[in-house]
Amino acid sequence: MRWPAITALLALTLVACAAPGSASTEVPVYDTGIDAEAWARVPAGGFYQGQHDHAATIGADYEIMVTNVTNAQYAAFLNAALAAGKVTLTDDTVTGYYPGDPFRAYKHEVEIPAGEWALMPTEDPALRLTLDGTTFSAKPGYEDHPATMVSWFGAWAYCSFYDWRLPTDAEWEKAARGTDTRPYPWGDDIGAGHANFVDSRDPFEGRSETTPVGFYNGKTYDGYATLDAASPYGVYDLAGNVWEWTGDVRAGTHLRGLRGGSFANYAYNLRIWTVNNAEPQHSSPRVGFRCARDG
């Protein structure tokens, strides 16, 4: 009699733990006060790159978006690109042309030839955009959240459409780190109010999981106090919230860089030098991007 009771209790516990925790669609809406259209200027010159602080140099000034591209911005891009015939809408995907990568047939390298590639799925439940005929719009409450479920091709297409580009790994890292050896964009330590990660305990946990861009700027939202987590150049969200695609196409691999960590990661993944990568076709609710342009 005792064993069935214990088994039932254990099963009940597991079922309780397994109950979906993100069923709520009520996403709190806050004005972060950070302009998602703003750019930050990063001067040319030296900086320390990687975990082991290698001296590196960027030869020219450049600008980088202060925040990730938002759902509202990406929806506007898709509508404009559709109207301009730059992207195509198929049954469940938005596709666009990519001119292909040089292919060297290294071990594990997959050829990325020129052609139409998926920028974003249109039917995925994780998508924060809606499609009404041929018009995209952000789901209510998600307008200022980072655009996710965008493949590397989708990020590349967005930046290219406006004559911008994805930041290189070096550009992304300098924008995050400045000219010292800090491990996080804001400094040496990480706490709950610095960024959206596993331990942030933010008001979006169990709901949207992502936070609006520029959320961690020192403001307090309904009692949740954030710290100003801008990088030395005033760039937000370079650690946590969503991984960010970078633009490097490296010799011998088709994989593309992802930087910064996401809401689903522990703090060590948010260190500036942490590397991640994925196929350029990969789209995920944990991946977003921002653009750069020549200064």
């Binding site: 516990t13 597991l14 733990c17 397994a18 109950a19 979906p20 925790g21 993100s22 975990q51 082991h52 602080d53 290294y106 071990k107 594990h108 390298e109 997959v110 995925d124 439940p125 994780a126 050896t181 491990p183 996080y184 040496d188 990480i190 596993v198 331990d199 991984w243 490296r250 010799a251 011998g252 691999t253 994989l255 992802l258 689903a264 990661n265 522990y266 703090a267 060590y268 993944n269 260190r271 590397v275 991640n276 990568n277 994925a278 196929e279 990969h282 995920s284 609710p285 944990r286 991946v287």
Partner: protein, 495 residues
Amino acid sequence: MQSVRRHLADRFVFLFTATKGLVLVAIALISLTTAFMGTLSGPMQTWGVTDTVVEAFGLSLVPAEREGRIILLYHTIAMAVIAIEVYLITHSLPMKQREQTQINATVTVGYLLTLIFGLWFGYFTRNWAFHGLYLVGLSLIFFAGVQLAVALWPWRATYHITDTRRAHMGRVDLERVAFFVMAVATLGSAAFGGVAGSYYGNGFETFHAEDVVRDPVKTPLQLAIIGHLHIMLTLIAVALALLVGRWLGFGGLWQKLSMPLFIVGTIIITLGVWALVPYQPIAHTIIYVGSTVVLLGALFLVIYGFDKLIRDGLAAEGTTKATFGRKLGALVRDPLKFGALWQMVFMNFVVSFPGIFMAAKLEDIFRVWPLRQERLVLTGHWHILSGIVATIILLLYADLAGLKGWVRQLFGWIIIVFSDLAFGATLVFMIRRMFVTEYGEGPLVRTVTVVMDVGLGAVLLTLAALMVWRLIDLFGPRGRWRQELTEFTAEEVTL
């Protein structure tokens, strides 16, 4: 005062000279280290435990040094495990008492220096003298390994065997050859990592293998480190399988078939790993061949062991003709011995088969995922293997410690059932992207996390209970420790 000193001296002699005392100290130190370090990661961070521990103990956790700290931690725990295996080898294989004493003493000082100063340097203060002492510890363990290889030399006439029921070539004991080959392979493989390690700070930088797995070009020193960590864990597992064989009295036809496989397989795997630097393209193939041969040797050990447990179990019941159910009952009668063999079988389901599947489907499944997801599979893979090695050592030690009756049953079954639950859940956690998307993974992740936590928690609590029992026992003047000290002198002087 004099009596207190004598009491302390008696305990010291037990803990640092008797095999069971030495093993107990090493297990206790691993347990303490694991418990302490467990407060610094995962949910402990979320619950705020990490911050409290960091403040209370004055830990220095510089973010840029995380990888280096973890490498130090792995080495400290691994050296204590190697020390345990050395104690058990010097205890269970015939050798001169002088050799046994010297080897045990050297490896003990070595792993204690490694553990104390490695952790101190890594987690408390950046004093390079401590790093030097950590390296002295590693060097002493290497030296103990050299002494062990010399002591194991199987062609010495004293160690020739005449028992034809045991694997032999001429009069040379092939089981001893297997131990010898394992010891020599371990020394070479330690040097393989040591050479690369000597370049740290001199043009070579700290890295974790799982972080560079997708780099199209790896340096020779990176390849050496990657090979080193794989072969060392493999050789720890080989040594443990051989020790389980000694524990169960492995002999007869299965042993005659098994020992050559262990010897040849160990040599092939080791050469395959060493070939990783100059001949990377074919190294994996060589390693697969060697692994298959060793696994076959281990399979024969399991077949022998299961058969022996059934026979012994039925004999104890006085049954001559038994049904399948009775045989099954006899097989699981002793959870400690059954568990050690079962864990070897279970290892295939959660380590070997998933590893083979991953290699076969790398391009189609695992390389399609983001690196951090593939990284989870890689780290989970060897954490499970290390965990299985640890549970087998615990089961073996519990038998050495003389657990009997219901305590033996309870201890054994908790270790088997809950560790396997945790390992199974870990496997699901690792490869979950095959079943669920990132968007829909929440319920699955929460469920397997609870199962992992419950499983590991139960195992650690059981281990803690064993350690507390042994600690309390040390306070008694005529506790088990006294008996085990006597066993030591009676048993080992005669070897």
